[in-house]
């Protein structure tokens, strides 16, 4: 029977199973194949808890979602079209999100009485009609791989483990993706254990063939290549992109990269990635805590490295005092906060963008600092690079805000040509700058930056520290007038960065009814919502803020062109507070603090509400 191939523009798929079912790996392989086909895409993993919960429980379900399409894709999708459910618990947790009429691919063998009970199903949903309204593909995956591999050397447990590859194979068929990249990847990964590699390949192909030949599947889908800008691409998570951006900035500045950090979810992968780059001259220092992490970085900055510290909310809180030291000593430093749900330990594996006010205002005293926020995984590269550049140009610490959704999510990254990356000019004074009265560590250049004089330079011996210093000379000073001067300079240094912020780009018309303003990872959802609203003819535009401190100088002018402003945030209204103070006008807020990103539809609804 010839099967139908339907061309679609985009699809959202969610893989869900037990923590031990390898859903993250399955999702990643599907992503890779999809990327190679040339679709645009975004992904997001979803681990419910930090510890492996008992097998088969709701708490133990692990999921991975991706959206891909033949057009630009800005989010990992809201509601999935297709749900892979490897066990009853996975189905229980994720069914509520599946689109009406969506596909369910289930491993029927896992729907045992015990598993059903553990997941809280009264009866087997695959058979009792409770999935009416969905398209259910109930497959005996365990049995099928068992059959296919009955002659392999693997133990029966080992064979059972390949069932995720079966599911992957089915999906490859269903969405017309090539199996070869995964085949090659498996061979490489299990080079030392070819029988495992072959078993997995067999399982995958069995799945593929199962899709192609059995009659339960009648339709497959094709998604054309997206019209992405020309170039080479790879898929990248935000955390890896941050690491690469920092390595690149160090190279472009001719600096060694120093990372002082303490592990914390969801930021640890930056540390992991950088610790694997010893041959790039990267020094990672896993400190005893977050305070030592930033303190060691401050020391490294003082001694001349491009210094970085990475963390998440609670760790950021601990760095508060030391950030003040970096501000008053005017040393270049990049501080990365991959935000998560709070307060306190809160929801460590869930996303939230609620550390904005902490970043912008959360220190004792008037202690301003530039803050940049990344909008998607690939943008993490650019923001990290830019943060490092600004830090060294203005001699200031800079905060980079990412979040768990960006850090662990992924999307295609258009690989830049290393040769075209901006050069970062760094100047270290030598003895020639020493005047009659000695070296002046707090003189100012045109950006009001002070000189970065490195220990080891003959003739420039000087002392810095956390006590207020006299401008120019750098002597300890408790003089009232000087304190005012220094306070003003520190504030002005942050304002000066406006010169480096390009004019704002409004997505949509530059004038209209509603301007939706966002920052950080809401970018994608807002973008989609605005496009959809515009498609319906609504007068809506998007302004995305990359720098949240300082604001771009044209901010007010841009906003003045709109009747209403809407700010959707995954927090209780933090940017809204700052913008109300800045613009002195009412702002519509859309706030959601559920540990989850926005769905575009939620923003659309709010826009509808505003437009009446």
């Amino acid at each position: 029977m010839a099967k139908k191939v339907i061309r679609i523009n985009e699809a959202t798929i969610r893989f869900a199973g037990d923590s031990g079912d390898g859903m993250q790996l399955t999702g990643t392989r599907f992503t890779e194949a999809t990327a190679i086909v040339g679709n645009d895409l975004k992904t997001i993993p979803n681990y419910p808890s930090e510890i492996r919960a008992p097998l088969g429980t709701l708490a133990g379900v692990s999921a991975f979602q991706l959206m891909f399409g033949s057009q630009r894709v800005f989010t990992p999708g809201d509601l999935p079209d297709t749900l892979v459910a490897m066990n009853p618990a996975a189905l229980k947790v994720h069914l509520k999100d599946l689109k009406k009429g969506g596909n369910i691919l289930a491993n029927a063998n896992a729907f045992t009485d015990k598993n059903l009970k553990m997941a809280g199903w009264e009866a087997n949903p695959l058979t009792d009609g409770s999935l009416d309204g969905y398209i259910v593909f109930s497959m005996e995956m365990s049995k099928l791989v068992g059959k296919a591999l009955e002659n392999s050397d693997l133990t029966s447990k080992g064979i059972e483990r390949t069932k995720n590859m079966f599911a992957l194979g089915v999906l490859f068929w269903m969405y017309n993706r090539p199996v070869e990249p995964t085949e090659a990847w498996l061979r490489k990964k299990f080079a030392k254990n070819p029988s495992i590699a072959e078993a997995n390949i067999t399982a995958m192909k069995t799945g593929y063939n199962y899709g192609q030949t059995t009659e339960i599947f009648t339709t497959s889908y094709s998604v054309e290549k997206a019209d992405l800008p020309k170039g080479k691409y790879r898929n990248i998570t935000g955390n890896v992109a941050v690491a690469y951006g920092l390595v690149s900035a160090a190279k472009q500045a001719g600096k060694e990269l120093f990372l002082g950090s303490y592990p914390i979810t969801p930021a640890s992968e930056i540390l992991h990635t950088l610790s694997g780059l010893r041959n790039y001259g990267v020094k990672t220092f896993q400190a005893e805590d977050e305070i030592a992490g930033i303190s060691s970085a401050i020391g490294a900055a003082y001694a001349g490295d491009l210094a970085v510290t990475t963390t998440s909310g609670p760790g950021m809180a601990l760095k508060t005092e030391a950030i003040g030291l970096a501000i008053i000593t005017e040393l270049p430093l990049v501080i990365v906060n991959v935000q998560r749900g709070g307060p306190s330990t809160g929801m460590p594996t869930k996303m939230e963008q609620s550390d904005l006010l902490q970043a912008v205002l959360g220190r004792n005293s008037d202690a301003r600092i530039p803050v940049i926020a990344a909008q998607d995984p690939a943008d993490c590269f650019d923001c990290a690079f830019e943060a490092a550049r600004i830090a060294m140009k203005y001699m200031t610490p800079v905060i980079l805000l990412s979040d768990g959704y960006l850090g662990q999510g992924s999307g295609p990254w258009k690989i830049p040509d290393p040769k075209t990356l901006p050069e970062i000019v760094v100047h270290h004074p030598d003895v020639s700058t020493r005047g009659e009265a000695g070296f002046m560590p707090y003189t100012r250049d045109e950006n009001e930056a002070r000189p970065w004089a490195l220990p080891g330079t003959a003739g420039l011996e000087h002392r810095i520290g956390g006590l207020e210093k006299e401008n120019i000379t750098g002597m300890v000073s408790q003089d009232p007038e000087n304190h005012q001067v220094m306070t003003d300079i520190r504030a002005r240094k942050v304002e000066n960065i406006k010169k480096d912020i390009p004019p704002s780009v409004v997505h949509g018309d530059a004038k209209g009814k509603v301007l939706v303003i966002g920052w950080g990872s809401t970018h994608g959802a807002i973008h989609v919502a605005v496009d959809r609203a515009r498609a319906k003819g609504q007068s809506v535009s998007q302004l995305h803020l990359r720098w949240v401190s300082p604001f771009p100088s044209d901010l007010k002018a841009v906003c003045d062109n709109f009747d209403e402003i809407l700010i959707p945030e995954v927090n209780s209204g933090q940017l809204a507070l700052l913008l109300k103070a800045e613009l002195l006008r009412p702002i519509h807020q859309l706030n959601k603090v559920r540990g989850e990103p926005f769905r575009a539809s939620e923003i659309e609804d709010k826009v509808n509400e505003i437009l009446g």
């Binding site: 790879r234 898929n235 390595v247 780059l277 970085a297 020391g299 005092e321 011996e461 000087h462």
Partner: protein
């Protein structure tokens, strides 16, 4: 014992090279002055260029030290100097890094960074000014103040059992531990030299008199008259002898240190011989610290060889680079599965 003979190059430096123009602002009579003077006297002969010294401190009277040394200096925040110094040393391993701290800075708020720096054995020299009081904040008890100490925050006597800082250092796996006395120039200079010569983290505990808030805390050993009978200056390989007349010594009895009088019953050869590399010996010396029946030990209490963190970091970078080649951005960027959009 680290028997490294340090090759010292004469750089024609003098004490004056290390004295900056600004005024020293400790209380008149403070023990810090002597420590400063001995540092300034010792560094010129160490064969290290002046610009290669970095003095990192926290907050406290003692932590003002960097302002009084004409070297690179960083007067940082309370308790964090060892962490900052770790970054300084890793960023530029050419530097000779000193950490100056107090009993509050280094053992109260900064205790964690202290023990981790010592454990990691990062090449830096940590000097603790132990005056058993918070000087800068005007006289509260510190974690080294003795039980019963009456201070601003313990008007009825402290109920906090004290640390023995050198014992904390030993427990943290430190490779070099010395103890010195602010008024003992010779001991101080020797400790400074040995510490700086030691590869890895060195810890020097200096007993320092705070004339304003804790005057006389170390009277028994500070006073020249009573010092010989109350202080034991240990030297590697030599028997533990002390006393005005060199007539007393230390033996180990029932696994405890014990003072014996030389003469009839006991002679020099019965005495314990100091061994910087032996943990039990160091421990025994430390046990004597708070024990009124024993003298207080000074000198290099422990010195063992171990690879330093910074050295291992450099090695690892070299090793990995040898195997993988120096990384380029091309390699980095193209490390994953790449596809092309044409």
């Amino acid at each position: 014992m680290s028997e490294t003979t340090i090759e010292i190059q004469d750089l024609n430096l003098t004490r004056k090279d290390f004295v900056p123009g600004n005024e020293v602002r400790w209380c008149p009579g403070c023990g810090d002055y002597s420590i400063l003077a001995n540092m300034q006297k010792t560094l010129p002969v160490m064969g290290v260029k002046k610009e290669n010294y970095a003095f990192i401190s926290g907050i406290g009277c003692s932590s003002r030290f960097p302002y009084y040394m004409d070297t690179y200096g960083f007067h940082s925040i309370h308790g964090r100097a060892p962490a900052i110094a770790s970054g300084v040393k890793l960023a530029n391993p050419e530097l000779t890094v000193w950490v100056i701290t107090g009993d509050g800075d280094g053992f109260s708020i900064g205790g964690n960074h202290m023990i981790h720096a010592l454990r990691r054995n990062i090449d830096m020299n940590i000097m603790l000014f132990n005056n058993r009081i918070y000087g800068l904040t005007k006289g509260q008890y510190s974690p080294t103040s003795l039980l019963g100490a009456k201070t601003k925050s313990s008007p009825f006597g402290s109920i906090d059992r004290p640390f023995n800082p050198s014992a904390v250092a030993l427990g943290s796996n430190a490779t070099f531990i010395a103890r010195a006395l602010d008024v003992d120039a010779k001991g101080l200079q020797e400790s400074i030299k040995r510490a700086q010569g030691h590869k890895g983290a060195s810890f020097i505990e200096v007993y320092q008199n705070c004339i304003i808030f804790n005057d006389g805390e170390f009277e028994a050993v500070e006073n020249k008259a009573t010092r010989p009978d109350n202080a034991l200056f240990v030297v590697h390989g030599e028997p533990m002898i002390f006393g005005e007349e060199n007539d007393k010594g230390i033996i180990m009895k029932d696994n405890h240190p014990k003072v014996v009088h030389l003469g009839q019953e006991w002679s020099e050869k019965d005495l314990l011989v100091h061994d910087e590399t032996n943990q039990i010996i160091t421990n025994l010396l430390l046990e004597m610290t708070f024990d009124p029946t024993n003298p207080t030990p000074f000198g290099v209490l422990r010195a063992v060889d171990a690879p330093s963190y910074d050295e291992m970091m450099i090695d690892q970078i070299e090793q990995v680079t040898k195997v993988k080649g120096e990384g380029t951005l091309e390699q980095l960027f193209y490390g994953g599965d790449v596809w092309e959009v044409k």
